[in-house]
């Protein structure tokens, strides 16, 4: 079972520099916040989905659709309760609060889908390289990329240990909640020890290869910003500027709502 969202496709989005994709991700976290009117936020959602279509990344929506729907429903309910408006709808719910809830639900889903597209088109190694090129210290980026790389291995180890313990009679389903929680100890301890045991050998292997010996290092994976990256960044900057201009001109607001 591979928990990674990365899809190995050959699209122009995949070929963008990881820094470009990181800036686009940050931009997609900001763009939904420009508007409050659900119709405008819906337009941003359509834009994100179109970008995902171009990146051939929308197949991953099958893995997260339940999270998207659950988040949306809970968000609409919460803001309908905590917000207030001027037009009564039913019971204690006002129309403006409901619309605000829908807008926030769309915002959250946009950020989740944008994150999914980023992870679907960016390999773990590219994430690490991108962080280093953005000025993040190499050791931190190394820790992040190593952790990303090890997760599938530890997941597999976790499943194997779980099956082994179940075959020895471990029953995780019976008992009250505290008993069931405590039964996870025979699963967690072996996973922990088997992983941490390799720390000293791992450290020696790194230092024998010169880890941290110098302040600068070269990389096997070469990345560089090309004309496509510049074009995409300029286009997105123009889009964001246009959205902000529209918002300042009074478009995309939600009248009558108070939080």
């Amino acid at each position: 079972m591979d928990p990674s969202l990365y899809l190995d496709r050959n699209t122009w989005v995949h070929r963008l520099d990881p820094r470009t994709k990181m800036f686009l991700l940050i931009g997609m976290f900001v763009l939904p916040f420009v508007f409050l009117d659900p119709l405008y936020v819906l337009a941003v959602l359509v834009l994100v989905l179109f970008f995902g279509y171009l990146a051939k990344a929308l197949t991953n929506l099958r893995r997260i659709w339940f999270i998207l729907v659950t988040i949306a429903i809970l968000t609409v309910i919460l803001w309908s309760i905590f917000g207030s408006g001027q037009t009564p709808l039913f019971l204690f719910v006002e129309l403006e609060a409901l619309l605000y809830g829908i807008s926030i639900a769309l915002r959250i889903d946009i950020t989740v889908i944008a994150g999914m597209i980023f992870l679907s088109t960016t390999r773990n190694e590219e994430v690490a390289i991108g962080l280093v090129r953005l000025g993040i210290p190499y050791r931190f980026a190394f820790a992040v990329s190593t952790a990303l790389r090890l997760v599938p291995t530890i997941v597999a180890t976790g499943f194997a240990i779980s099956e082994a313990q179940r075959s020895r009679g471990l029953d995780l389903e019976s008992g009250n909640i505290i008993q069931r929680i405590r039964k996870h100890v025979p699963l967690l301890v072996p996973v922990f020890v088997s992983t941490i045991r390799s720390t000293n050998v791992f450290s020696m292997a790194l230092e024998s290869k010169g880890f941290g010996a110098g302040s600068k290092r070269t990389f096997f994976l070469k990345t560089a910003m090309g004309w496509r990256d510049v074009l995409v960044l300029v286009a997105f900057a123009a889009l964001l500027a246009g959205a902000i201009t529209l918002s300042l001109a009074g478009y995309g607001e939600l009248e009558g709502f108070s939080r």
Binding site: I67, T70, V112, L119, A147, L150, V155, G158, I196, T199
Partner: protein, 277 residues
């Protein structure tokens, strides 16, 4: 808090960051949680990991918990809210090791193996406080960006962290501490005293963290329940002030005395065979 930066000099600590993060993220996936709101909120066994890695690996555990939570979001829901999760989980693992020695006098055994009644009591208190601080940070952030109201997330996040920390944490520490010590991987054995903040005002720091954590949560709940604007100046500003207090307290807590105590203990253990010989 200089040890959160100086720790990066040690390759073992860098590796411990990576492994702690990977363990935290990975355990989220195969070990199902106990549903609170089916499909939406679960109590997850993995939530005990930050307390354990914080007490065993110190600053490496703090960075590992933060990065691990972020990587867990990579496999599910990476959003702007993930920033709150990163910072919240950093403090969830940081506060246990920072606050631990504030409850012991000089000369007392400060090993983090919860093998006594006092150590267990200290662990429970710190676990609850760290859970409250983590929940306050996350709830404050998602309220500030207008995602979810403060009062809707605080209690659930506190319970999610504290329940697992209290039930699983001590058992994991008792099982893991001897092994990690045998591997020579306790943070107090890897780092040098001069790399860790001194703790001249640790009692003041301890009090500030308690006031900041509990005060911030209480203030946020009161403002949220009395109808002040979620996401407005009320919660964002007031709770933010309490979080600053928590941060100041964390800076004052130190941690050097734990490293010095570990050095003394290692020195005593090494001289025992010599005396026996």
């Amino acid at each position: 808090m200089k040890e959160v930066l100086t720790m990066w000099r040690h390759t073992q600590m860098v590796v411990l960051v990576a492994l702690s993060a990977a363990i935290y993220a990975a355990i989220l996936i195969p070990f199902k949680g106990f549903p609170v709101v089916p499909g939406a909120i679960e109590i997850r066994p993995a939530n005990a990991i930050p307390f354990v890695v914080g007490l065993l690996f110190g600053p490496a555990g703090a960075w590992g918990a933060a990065i691990g939570n972020l990587i867990g979001d990579f496999f599910g829901t990476l959003t702007l809210g993930s920033i709150g999760g990163f910072v919240g989980n950093f403090f969830l693992a940081l506060l246990p090791y920072k606050m631990w020695s504030a409850y012991f006098r000089r000369g007392e055994n400060t090993e983090t193996n919860v093998d006594s009644g006092k150590k267990l009591g200290v662990y429970f208190a710190i676990a609850v406080l760290a859970s409250v601080v983590c929940a306050t940070i996350i709830s404050w952030w998602v309220d500030l960006i207008g995602f979810i109201p403060f009062t809707a997330t605080l209690v659930l996040v506190v319970l999610n962290n504290a329940i697992m920390g209290i039930i699983l944490g001590p058992i994991l520490l008792l099982a893991l501490y001897p092994r990690i010590k045998r591997f020579g991987l306790l943070w107090t054995e890897i780092m040098a005293p001069e790399e860790v903040s001194a703790s001249g005002l640790r009692r003041v720091g301890n009090i500030l963290v308690w006031i900041g954590g509990i005060g911030g949560a209480a203030a946020g709940l009161v403002i949220g329940l009395t109808g002040a604007a979620p996401g407005g100046l009320g919660i964002g500003f007031v709770v933010g002030l309490f979080l600053v207090l928590t941060l100041v307290g964390a800076f004052l807590l130190g941690g050097r005395e734990q490293v010095e105590a570990a050095e003394e203990m290692m020195g005593a253990e090494e001289s025992e065979p010599e005396r026996a010989g």
